[in-house]
Amino acid sequence: MGKHTEQREQKAEATTFMATNGRRQVEKDDDDFVDVDDSSLQTNQANYAWEEEYKRSWDVLQEDEHGSLAGVVNSLQKAAKRKRQLRDTDPIQRGIIRHLFILIDLSNAMQEKDLRPSRLSLTFTYLEAFIAEYFDQNPISQIGLIGTKDGLAEKLTELSGNPTDHIKALKMKKFMETGGEPSLQNALELARNSLIHVPAHGSREILVIMGSLTTTDPGNIHDTIARLMQDNIRASVIALAAEVQVLKFLSTQTKGTFGVAMNEGHYRDLLFEVIPPTAITTTKASANLVQMGFPARCNDSAATLCACHGKLTLGGYKCPQCGSKLCDIPTECDICNLTLVSSPLLARSYHHLFPVENFVEVPWKDAAMTTACFSCQKTFLSPHKVSVQLQSTTDAGRYQCKLCEKTFCTDCDVFIHDVLHNCPGCLSQPRRRAGGVIA
């Protein structure tokens, strides 16, 4: 890919930002030279994927006093299931109409194999799942993809609300090619130029996925960061290699999040943390009434051209403002730029506004009060059958809703908070306000 040589003159001498400290969460001043304290490393449980020792999965298992593995295996499984962060359930304003640019590092550093199969292919696999989930949770939001390599930034897809476009782009071979150094500044400026045209009521966000420890920039990156702050753009960063000072600075200045992926699972967690809409932090009056169209589905007897693809189709949605036919909603009318949605799509976002309260864990001493999960009828392990020693290391596997005082099993707890967003116990009660809705 040596075709961009003539464009390279636009970047001045490469300003290179080196990775500073190799350890996440090490808080140091900007100018300090940070030496990584090796003794603290060993106490730290979660190591980076590349410094992991040879794993013997059987070492984790230890027999209990009866020589049985079942209890240990059970508690391990439960811990894995329960692995979810307790959500913030305060009713706060959330930016539901989001505009997100994902900056993907396509430099040579992405070919590293510390995340298997490689940083790049894992990123693309996760991004496909991410995009599907993002649009599921944020149906009236938009995404754009930007790749950066050879010191340049290139838009892979424009901002759009159609998940299939992005997933198709991610599957294209030509975007999988890597080369040279990434350019953080070029990519950020490209994203910023597209985001400043977004109406003020929508949130403007950038997610940077960076595998490289260096960046080749044409100018001063701090100017770009200042401009991002000025335009109210939030930039979050996931670094795949190590903590890079400039990336961390970027995310803290723009009120984004910063994380270093330690292994494949952690990378996925970091990525998927971006999906729920973030709380609105700015006090600026950015809320507005947005004009939207609710098109009716039409079925013509003869095929007509659609406005979006120019293809002959039978069914479609008719824009109520200009009357042109579009294949699918949600979208923006190509003719008159009206946002077209349907009411169920709006309803899909309501659960962000009325989240389910977190359930509290029931300790073993109170566990005898309930015998079965309220929602799935699964019987709980009776505390009398579990030895005291095992009780001290495991949890009772039952979780209680503070509002309705019904008890749920681990599976249901996860399902209720991650998928369903209704508390069956609260809904089953006569007068209690359902699912956090304050009538």
């Binding site: 609105i280 507005n288 169209g293 169920p344 999960c373 209704n422 006569p430 007068r431």
Partner: protein, 324 residues
């Protein structure tokens, strides 16, 4: 010959055991209404026959029954929750009845009898008219989630059937929508049989979004016939049948302020409430809006609507915020 056998095997492979979750609306105010064409005890006979038919269809078909009562929602079968000493005595063997049927029938009948005999809990006015469909759907989805988890092979094909007589309860809009989207995500069809009364709009959307069947029997007294012919076939058989579909579901939105159906509406960017005209403050979330868009039609409407906007309906408490 072998090709025929393998193709049959392949078909059989798809024809898996079915988990049917039946939600029975037991709202006594509707069933015992003088104008009700079918009383609950008679309807239960039909429903029990249908349940038995489902269990008889395959040896490993599974069933769960949930009652959606006024102000409560409960599992009727299986009930591990409260093993009462009395029920054990009743399920002793009867030489003339297939034991599986008997267990189910007894559990459902005693469960409903207990619900109806319960001293009525203190209810609010708005609870009276409708049953807890959203709660029952949530329970059903949790049950299915657990069943799918414990079934390692992934062969169980779940579906939900809602038998309802009550009208929609507007406060249930968001919970029902949440249920619909989780069902859609997990590929669980929600079939709806509205035994009588006017169309249940929320459940109509549920059936449409999850690709289930929505039906109102022509004559409620022939409930069993409708159940047997339209709702008994599992998803595998349905691909060979031409079942009654529903007409186009209207997904147009109604504004929160006047309940008017709108083509082009204004949506609050914070809480997504729909309004038919511009107002400076969102009546749902009290957000003040930045500026008024320069639209002549909006201005004209805004002037009119400003006076006639006394209430502040929230998406939860307003009746049918979405389609009509």
């Amino acid at each position: 010959m072998t090709s025929v056998i393998t193709s049959v095997c392949l078909l059989n492979y798809k024809d898996d055991s079915n988990l049917l979750v039946i939600v029975i609306d037991t709202n006594p105010f509707e069933w015992e209404h003088p104008s009700a064409p079918l009383k609950l005890n008679l309807a239960l006979k039909h429903i029990l026959a249908f349940m038995n038919a489902h269990l008889a269809g395959r040896h490993d078909n599974r069933l769960a029954v949930i009652a959606s009562h006024v102000g409560a929602s409960k599992f009727l079968y299986p009930t591990l929750n409260e093993p009462t000493p009395g029920s054990k005595v009743q399920t002793k063997k009867d030489a003339n009845v297939y034991q599986v049927f008997k267990v189910v029938n007894d559990a459902v009948l005693t469960g409903i009898a207990k619900l109806l005999q319960d001293p009525r809990p203190t209810l609010e006015e708005k609870d009276l008219g409708s049953s807890k469909i959203a709660a029952s759907l949530s329970l059903g989805l949790c049950y299915i989630n657990q069943a799918l988890k414990s079934d390692g092979m992934g062969h169980v094909k779940p579906r939900i059937l809602v038998l309802t007589v009550s009208p929609d309860s507007s406060s249930d809009y968001i919970p029902i929508m949440n249920c619909i989207f989780s069902a859609q995500k997990a590929n669980i069809p929600i079939d709806v049989c509205k035994i009588w009364g006017e169309d249940a709009v929320f459940l109509q959307q549920a059936a449409h979004i999850t690709e289930g069947i929505y039906m109102r029997p022509d004559d409620p007294r022939g409930l069993l016939q409708t159940l047997m012919f339209s709702f008994l076939p599992d998803m595998f058989s349905r691909s060979y049948l031409h079942l009654p579909g529903q007409d186009e579901v209207d997904f147009r939105a109604a504004c929160f302020c006047h309940k008017r159906i709108v083509d082009i509406g204004f949506v609050c960017s914070v809480c997504l409430s729909i309004f038919c005209s511009f107002s400076p403050v969102c009546s749902t979330c009290r957000t003040k809006f930045a500026f008024q868009p320069l639209l002549p039609s909006a201005r004209r409407l805004g002037a009119k609507a400003g006076a006639s906007n006394p209430g502040s309906p929230r998406p939860s408490s307003s009746s049918t915020p979405s389609a009509s």
